[in-house]
Assembly symmetry: C2
Homo-oligomer: 199 residues x 2
Amino acid sequence: MAKDFYTAVADRRSIYGISKDSVVSEEKIREIIEHALTYTPSAFNSQSARIVLLLEAAHDRLWDITKEALRKIVPPDEFGATAAKIDAFQNGYGTVLFFEDQKVVESLQNQFPAYKNNFPVWSQQSSGMHQYVVWTALELEGLGATLQHYGELIETQVKQEWNLPDHWKLIAQMPFGKPTAQPDPKEMQPLADRMRVFK
Amino acid sequence: MAKDFYTAVADRRSIYGISKDSVVSEEKIREIIEHALTYTPSAFNSQSARIVLLLEAAHDRLWDITKEALRKIVPPDEFGATAAKIDAFQNGYGTVLFFEDQKVVESLQNQFPAYKNNFPVWSQQSSGMHQYVVWTALELEGLGATLQHYGELIETQVKQEWNLPDHWKLIAQMPFGKPTAQPDPKEMQPLADRMRVFK
């Protein structure tokens, strides 16, 4: 039976141990992304989100690019640990890249100058929503995923490699695969400190 | 039967026509917010989100505050339309206020200076995720909601009114209630322009 919304929300976690073993069809993964792009909201329904799915050699290539970029900035004696972390992402089945189209954001800024400073912020919030929906759906289908942020380091090369538009801004990378290890329990801060109700 | 995740995602819309009629218990609305705060992710599990639920007189008061703040900046001949919009939000059952605790964000910046510029962005993304989870759950329970952004205009007074910490930054307001009108179909841009797959 299909998992209900609340259970899906509760079950989504950061899964760092992932493998290349197939869990669902490639078609299903495409459908997850199409569904997210179709139904996740954006400011003024601007649909600024762009998503790239990397599989097989393209997925491996992304993490090679990331590793080589890190090699240039991480001290040699720390690079072993860094490389191991990147290898763990590369061990997965694929990666979802989340972009926001800056042409769309700038067009909104020009159309509605009163909200000029808000549109980039709302774009980030909408990107977060897209990341969340894809992440939760991947988990729901039995995959494990995490959210990574190497964008500043790899954005130029990623766009060159896959010939992506310059105005797509890389926001996050989500490597995913068959879970090979379960996450530890998550520490929760008391809700009483984070929520208030007034009548 | 509980609605599955994909259906819940597809059914969430901006519902502008809302009333004060009760749809679910106040306890259920609290549970939605507690569930979202418990399970929605944040950078480094920092749990920076803060949520305030306003009901009854407090909900009405929020939109009075907003209307009076708008009266000071909207030209008199346009104020009728503005007031009607705010009244429509006030007609609802309650409002969820989304904040991000800037003390938490600053603490991360101090602990991890390499990501200093990223933490405020990740905080916005995480706030977007929280907004999304609450919105979808309200819709799932038969309520209608929209996401509003009068924060810059009302933040100081909101904090005074409900004695909220200065370091809570107001990100968004979500008025909700029993739906009194269904939304129009949503225009969708072609997925082919928004998604790419590489192997």
